[in-house]
Each structure stands twice: as structure tokens, then as C-alpha cells.
Symmetry: C2
Subunit: 528 residues, 2 copies
């Protein structure tokens, strides 16, 4: 596979030549694009926050939760299920292993995690799209996991590989989406054992942003790594990080063989794992915020430390997915105060571990992209960003508690992401920002519309929404009384129509196709 | 009017007897009601934030803006229009008055503001509904000002006194609305010169929460004070605060005779003024955040200091209303990053002046209660609350850039307010909150649904939304595929149907009716 590495270098060179006009990391042009509210075109680099974070726990509260998590790890322990290798590794590391349950001496996990990097670069096949994960960086990635879509004709139906490609394309075009994500929807028209090949290929072929790997079986993780090596080259993959993948705990306090298998594959190849307790509080964790945070911390400590047993220095994220169950229906609820408190608190705990942090997104329980969806998504996204989250999965397109990927919601959400990105730039205190000349020039009782300063800053001063209708009531009536999702629908159609694939070296493309064909041939047809 | 004071004492006694079961300020029962997501019933006391605030400017940035504001006050000055008395007062105070323009020596306004209280109590006719304004308190009040309503039949039409009463009733019933507000809509079916009498009467008759006074003419402010005296008694009004009213600057850098006239009336009677530059950045202030903050601070310093010239010690708030104009249509935009930054920054400047702070609410530009309305409102409300805002006008019901009060939006917004109130309680770190027994009892691989801790905390653990549908897709389909506003519509109808007026002493009621009848008789009929 060293051939493909050579090819990749060429491709990278070609891309650099081709992309010269785009400007790495944006600058004024990209900022203008962002302020213009999106639209396919100049892409924004991941966010580097100039703003502080919001915190909900003081030192005493944090120390209490850390002490309690240590107690859970030592007394209750964590199950590593059906994975003798993992149990043996923990024994070697000094843990007290009883059956499948691992009890951790105080401080063991923390000490193992000292080898984990606080930030890392996830390389994209287009180097301009590579992202930093950790520190002051925030990266937005699309929705992950839904088996259904709500399509542009208003149907709610099972997702297909065509939908998958469409969401990859939209994410590629969205200026404020920095990452192509993973299972942007489940392409249920492809057999489950082959699906990952088409998904990984779609991310590579239809986008040039970084992406996530398959975690549904260790061999699918291996396939992902193999495909990444065709794109980036063997050595590059082994010595860098080109995949960030999702390793969910089976809360409460279990890691199962599937996730452990995938985690081992990725960590061994120096690829990043997001160790995430997927929590519906009240069902998978205690019904209180502090209790949930304690359990989350214990689970992450065990799972993340495990990656360091596999390969010290492999990137690993402190992840959490926070929701509460509805006491009426048992269904997950979003955008409510308790998950926000969990996210803020978990972000603080992650910072104290020097680990990059993942939570939140644009989460909602609504079945349609209505006001409920928007309130819940905005509440979640605001707390996600102000918590200082480094990797934001589900940042766009999530509907119906994660059961459906929604095109219209995707377009509305990316507009919101653009706003968050602008917010994170903070207050411009330059002389131009201070605008004292403008105040002097205009003076009392006049207006600033035509003054020099307004004219000079007109284009870039305010974020310009691609979705919002700010016209008069009369004009809105005349234009057909459109709702926000109706406007979003129109833009999604325009984008998909005007989509152009990024350059991919034909040699790499053929290599990927060959690999997929060979793999698929070796698999039983009817396996689903 | 000392009779009415005596009557009021009796009424208060009766209310106390009647309200014994309600519990002053809530306690467990009120918290349960809040968590149940609202519904008419037990009322919540104003928020006492247990959480910190989010800040966007550091010491250097704040000092820079303060220095610039001082420069504006000294060099550019502020116009006090058509008010010779005000100009004379400024002359006496040591300002440099040139025509109508007042130039302020450095430090003059700040020094005058030392007499303004950092917090005050606004008394309600039901003492249990009195609110603290300032410090760690946050008070939610309804939308203010719209000439139109979007009614429960989906019509957008001019507002009537019937609508006004309805919004007062809904605000009275809403647990997380702490204040009855002011012009909840403009009752355009009542002549403009008489309208204030019916509005003030509605607040008193249909609610027992604190309310705002008329500011559209000095004599209407006097009428408001006179009516308050019928309710509270002369002495009580002169020595306490029972009105908090809105004094807008005519930005840039003008206070006009109407607002100055009203401000003088209220301050003289020890009633509170919210001095608020109403800013559409790019038109009424510079197009940048720092420039807008500078102008806002200069205007507030001048306007708030003026109230202290009128009566040292009269309560005054640092207000701001932050919006940006759309560069396409010139219309105000909401929920975008720049107004959030202005709100956060202004809150910091207010804290440094030791003044209570007003900004934000549930602002949006959408013409209907759709996803645009919700995204914009949630963005605004989140920044409003995290900024540490003390008085939140427009907290519910605002639509269409403030042109319409919307019943459905009102019901959706109060649900969001309940969430914010719960959020502000912060993380419970008690032994029960830590839930260590629950984690021990449940252990790995099980679930928390039935455990003792969950059972004990089931009712109060999670905020329960009154609007969100968290049911399965299939159940939602079976129930008619309702949108959030459709559910809100139903609840509003139920509330208005089940509304019961709070007790009002018949003597006070007659006194108010007599006053209004005499006033109306003395006015020309056709004056509009």
C-alpha cells in the first residue's frame, strides 16, 4: 500500500494547487462567507474559541464528583463484557478483576490517561480541511445514526445510501460543518455487513472533510483503517490520526465486546476514540445531575484509560450524550435544563483530565422541524458551545430523538452553527471595532445607516442568516407565507442540484473500489 | 386616599388567609409545579440564581468601553430635547449645557448614580408576588408594545382591550412569569388618550403580580401613580416601589420630552425607571458590538443619572434592547450573535455600575411561531439568562419583531421560561443529589427505572415540558400530527376558559373605577 501513499502525496499537491484561491483557514473571505449565512462556497476552518466557557460546578463540587467516581470505580467496578483480552490487560495493569467486572484501585485510570494527548489533529484528505480536536477548538459534525429520514417531499421513511450520500454532500458544502461525521443516516438498503464499506467510501468520495469510522464490529473498523490507508498511506495512518470514531459505553457501567473490539482496532492504529456513555438519565444513570455526572466520569475514566492500555498516546475523547427520559412515555427528552447541566459539568470534568470533550449538538425530540425542534436544538447547542465542547456530533440534521435525519432541519441547523461560529469570535476591540469616529461623525439625533464606518463594515458586521425571514409581514405574505422549513427545503434542493464532487485522485478511487468489491465478494449476500 | 391604604391592609390580610395553602415563595410544592412544566396553579417566586454568569469582556475591554463612553459623554454629549427643566437640573449639577446638548464632565454621571440602589423590591398587591429586582434575582415579564396580535384562530389583526386582558390573565396563570408587564399589546380599540387607564386597571383587576406604568405622556404616568395609590395607599407608594416603567432613549444620544416627562413623574414618586437605549445596531448605533456598547453605556449613564437628579435613591435599571438591522431589508434581526454579545457585555457594564440590568427576552423576527421564531427566541433567552439579567421584558409572546403578541408563542415561551428557572437552580450536590446509593444498588448492566432513588425523586427530578411531544412517532401520528403551536393553542384556550380572577377588595375596585370614569369624562372623546 505504499503506492497509494505516493499517489496521495501527489493528490495532496494537486489539491493544494487547485485550492490556492480558497485560503487555508479562511481569513477575511471565509469570514465574509460565514457572515453571509452559508450557502455552498468558501469553507470555514474549525472554530478557535476566543471566548471563555460557562461552568456550573465549583472546585468543591468537582472534587466531590471525582471522589465519588473513584469510589464507583473501586467498589462497584465496570464490566468489560466477553473480552478476555481486555480483562487480561486490566489484570496486567494492576486492576482487581473479578469475573468480567474490573475494580480499579484509586488513581489507576487517571494515571493511565496521562499518556493521552489533550489535543490532536485529525487529518482530512484535503489538508485545508484537517481539524484540531481539543483545547480551544470546536468542530461541528452532522447527525449520527438515524435509520429514518424525513425527506424533501415530507415523507418519513427508511434511509437509503442515496440519502447517506446526500447528507455527506450537504455537509461538504456547509461552511460551518467542519467534519463529515459518520453514520449520517443508516443506509438500510445496503446489507448490514457491507454497509460500512459504502458509508466510508461516500465520505471519502463525496467530501474532503475528515470523517468517522465504523464501530459495529472489529472487522469493520479494520476495513475502515484499510480504506484510510488507501487514501493517506500506511505510514501516515499509523503515525497520525485520520479517523475519530464513536465508542459508546453500554451504561450503566458496561463496555461490550463490539465496542471494545472497535476501540482496540482504532487505538492500535493510533486513531481516535470518543468514549461516550450514552445516557438517558433516570434509566441508564441516576435521576439526578450529580449522580449522572459521577457515573459518566467513572465510565469514561475506565473506557478512555483502556485505550491507553492498548496504545499509550492514542487520542481519546471524554464523551457524553446527555438526555433525560420522559416520566410519561419513557422516551428521551432534549433541550431541558438537566442535560444542559450534565453537559456543562462533564466539560469541566474533561478539562481537569486534559482530554478533548464531546457532547451535545442540535438535539430534539420533535417529529417535525417545528418550534419544538428549534427550541430544543437551540437550547442544546447553546449549552454545547458555551461548555467549550471540542467535538460536536449531531450538530445538524437530528430529528425525533435521533430516529430520523431531516434535510430541512439540517439546513436550519447549519445556519445556527454559522451563528455560533461568529459568536465564538467574541467582541472586536480594535479601533475599527470601537467605532469612536462613527459616533463622533453621526452625533445625537441622526442615524448610522450611511456613515463611513457603517459603509466600510456593512458586509461583515452582522451574521446573515440563510433561513430567517426578516422582511415585513406584507412582503412575507406576498411571498407565500413560507415557514422556516419551507425555505430550508428550497435551499437543500438548490445545494444538491449544484453539488460538485471534490477532486479525488483516480488511482485512490480505483483502489477504494477494488477494495470494496473484493470485500463484498467475500461476504454472504443475504447477511443483514 | 388614606382610606384605600386601610382597605389595602385588610385586603392583604384576606389574601394572606386565602393564600395560606400556597406557600410564600414556593418551596417543594411550587418546585414540583414548575417541574411539571407549568399549567395554571401554584406560582413560582422570581428566580434567585444559584449559578454564575457568562461574560464576554475582560477587565481591559470593560475599561476601554467605559473610557470611550466617558469621552462620548464629554465631547459629543447627549440631547435632552424640549425639556428646559431637565437642562436646568443638569446645569445645576455641573454639566456643560450648550443649547439642548448636555456635555458631562468625566465622572459626573457615575458619581450621581452612587445614590441608586443596586436592588429594590417592587411590591405587588399580593405580597407573595412581590419581586426583587437586582442582584441574583431574575424576573420574567411578558411581551411589551405590539399593536397586533396573532390570535387563537390564526388571524393576525389589530389588538383589542380583550386581547390585553387575555394576556394579563395568561401571565397571571403562568407559574414562571413573575411580573404582569406593561403594554402586553396595544388595545387600539380604546382611544389613545384613555387607553392607559384601561391597561393599568386590567393589570390590577385581572392579576395580582407587579406591573408597569404608562410612559406615553407625563399625565398618564401621573394617572398610573394615582391608581397605584388607590391600591397601595399614598404613603406606601411614596416610600416604596410599586411600579417599574420603561424609559427608552431616542438613540443615538437623545432623550425626548415624553420620556423625560414620564421619568420625572416616576422618579419623583420613588418609582423605578428602566433606562433603555432601544438599539437597532447599524441604524441607531454603530455597526460593531464595541461601538454599540459604548453608546449604550453613555446613554444609560446620562439617563439613569438624570433620575438621581430628580430624586436621589429612586430605583433605576440599566436597560438595553439589542438587535441588528438586516442589511437586505433594514428590518431588525434577532437571535444572531451580535445582539447576544451586546447583551452579555452590557450586563457586565451594569454590574460595574451596581445597577439592576434589563435586556433580551424571547425575541424573534418570524411572522409565525415556527422554527425561526423558536431558534431566535431560544438564542436570545439563553444569552439573557446567562448574562445575569435581572428584569426580562418580552419574556413571552413576542413575535414579528415586536409587531405582534402571539397567544401560541406566549404558551411556548412560558414553557421555556420554566426550563430556565429550573436551570438556574444549578446542580444539587446533596447526598440525595449525589445518588451514590442508587449507583451501588443498581450496579453494572441493569437500569435505574425502578430503583428506590428514582422512585423517590421521580416527580421532581426533570423539568416536564407542557408543550413538547416526546411520544413515539406512531403515537404522535395517531394523535393527529400536531405541531408545537397547535398544542400551545389548545392549552391557551383551556387556560382562558378556566381563568379565575384573583381577589380584589371591592372598595379598591370601586375606587379605581370611579377614578377612571372621572378621568375619561374629562377627556375629549375623539382624541386618538
Amino acid at each position: 500500500m505504499s503506492d497509494s501513499a505516493a499517489v496521495d502525496q501527489e493528490a495532496a499537491g494537486a489539491r493544494r494547487a487547485r485550492g490556492a484561491g480558497r485560503g487555508a483557514g479562511g481569513g477575511a473571505a471565509a469570514r465574509r462567507a460565514a457572515r453571509a449565512g452559508g450557502g455552498p462556497g468558501i469553507q470555514l476552518t474549525y472554530i478557535t474559541r476566543k471566548m471563555g466557557v460557562y461552568e456550573v460546578l465549583d472546585e468543591e463540587g468537582l472534587a466531590l464528583i471525582e471522589k465519588n467516581a473513584d469510589t464507583v470505580l473501586e467498589e462497584t467496578g465496570i464490566i468489560f463484557r466477553d473480552d478476555a483480552e481486555a480483562l487480561e490487560m486490566w489484570k496486567q495493569a494492576g486492576a482487581d478483576v473479578r469475573g468480567e467486572r474490573v475494580h480499579f484501585p484509586k488513581g489507576l485510570c487517571r494515571s493511565l490517561l496521562r499518556s493521552a494527548p489533550s489535543t490532536y489533529t485529525q487529518h482530512a484528505r484535503n489538508p485545508e480541511r484537517s481539524v484540531q480536536i481539543g483545547g480551544k477548538a470546536t468542530v461541528f459534525a452532522p447527525v449520527y445514526g438515524p435509520p429514518f429520514v424525513r425527506d424533501l417531499d415530507g415523507n418519513r421513511r427508511y434511509a437509503t445510501i442515496e440519502d447517506f450520500r446526500n447528507f455527506v454532500k450537504l455537509a461538504y458544502m456547509a461552511p460551518s460543518i467542519h467534519h463529515s461525521g459518520g453514520t449520517v443516516c443508516e443506509p438500510v438498503d445496503v446489507p448490514v455487513n457491507k454497509r460500512h464499506l459504502d458509508m466510508v467510501y461516500s465520505h471519502i468520495r463525496y467530501s474532503d472533510k475528515p470523517f468517522m469510522g465504523s464501530v459495529t464490529a472489529p472487522e469493520r473498523a479494520e476495513d475502515t483503517v484499510a480504506m484510510a490507508k488507501i487514501v493517506f498511506g500506511d505510514d501516515f495512518v499509523e503515525n497520525n490520526t485520520v479517523l475519530t470514531s464513536l465508542i459508546n459505553a453500554n451504561s450503566p457501567m458496561v463496555f461490550d465486546e463490539t465496542m471494545l473490539g472497535a476501540a482496540k482496532v482504532y487505538a492500535r492504529h493510533n486513531q481516535a476514540c470518543i468514549v461516550t456513555p450514552f445516557i438517558l438519565a433516570g434509566a441508564m444513570s441516576p435521576v439526578t445531575v450529580a449522580g449522572t455526572l459521577t457515573q459518566v466520569l467513572a465510565e469514561v475514566l475506565a473506557g478512555a484509560a483502556f485505550t491507553q492500555l492498548v496504545r499509550p498516546g492514542a487520542p481519546v475523547l471524554f464523551g457524553t450524550f446527555a438526555s433525560s427520559i420522559s416520566m410519561q412515555s419513557g422516551a428521551p427528552t432534549f433541550g431541558t435544563p438537566e442535560p444542559s447541566l450534565v453537559s456543562y459539568g462533564a466539560a469541566q470534568l474533561a478539562r481537569r483530565l486534559n482530554l478533548p470533550f464531546r457532547t451535545g449538538g442540535s438535539l430534539c425530540a420533535s417529529k417535525i422541524p417545528d418550534a419544538q425542534a428549534a427550541y430544543e436544538s437551540a437550547n442544546t447547542l447553546n449549552s454545547t458551545v458555551l461548555a467549550g465542547t471540542n467535538f460536536v456530533l449531531h450538530a445538524a440534521g437530528w430529528l425525533e430523538g435521533g430516529l430520523a435525519s431531516c434535510y430541512e432541519k439540517f439546513m436550519m441547523d447549519i445556519d445556527q452553527l454559522g451563528m455560533q461560529q461568529k459568536f465564538c469570535e467574541g467582541v472586536d476591540l480594535s479601533e475599527n471595532g470601537q467605532a469612536m469616529d462613527a459616533i463622533r461623525q453621526v452625533g445625537p439625533g441622526s442615524h448610522f445607516l450611511g456613515c463611513d464606518h457603517t459603509q466600510a463594515n456593512f458586509q461583515s458586521a452582522f451574521y446573515r442568516s440563510s433561513i430567517a425571514d426578516n422582511n415585513s409581514y406584507e412582503q412575507w405574505l406576498a411571498e407565500g407565507e413560507k415557514t422556516a422549513p419551507q425555505r430550508a427545503n428550497q435551499i437543500a434542493r438548490q445545494w444538491l442540484e449544484s453539488y460538485e464532487a471534490p477532486f479525488l485522485d483516480p488511482g485512490i478511487d480505483d483502489g477504494l473500489k477494488d477494495f470494496i468489491a473484493r470485500k463484498k465478494e467475500s461476504m454472504p449476500d443475504a447477511f443483514t
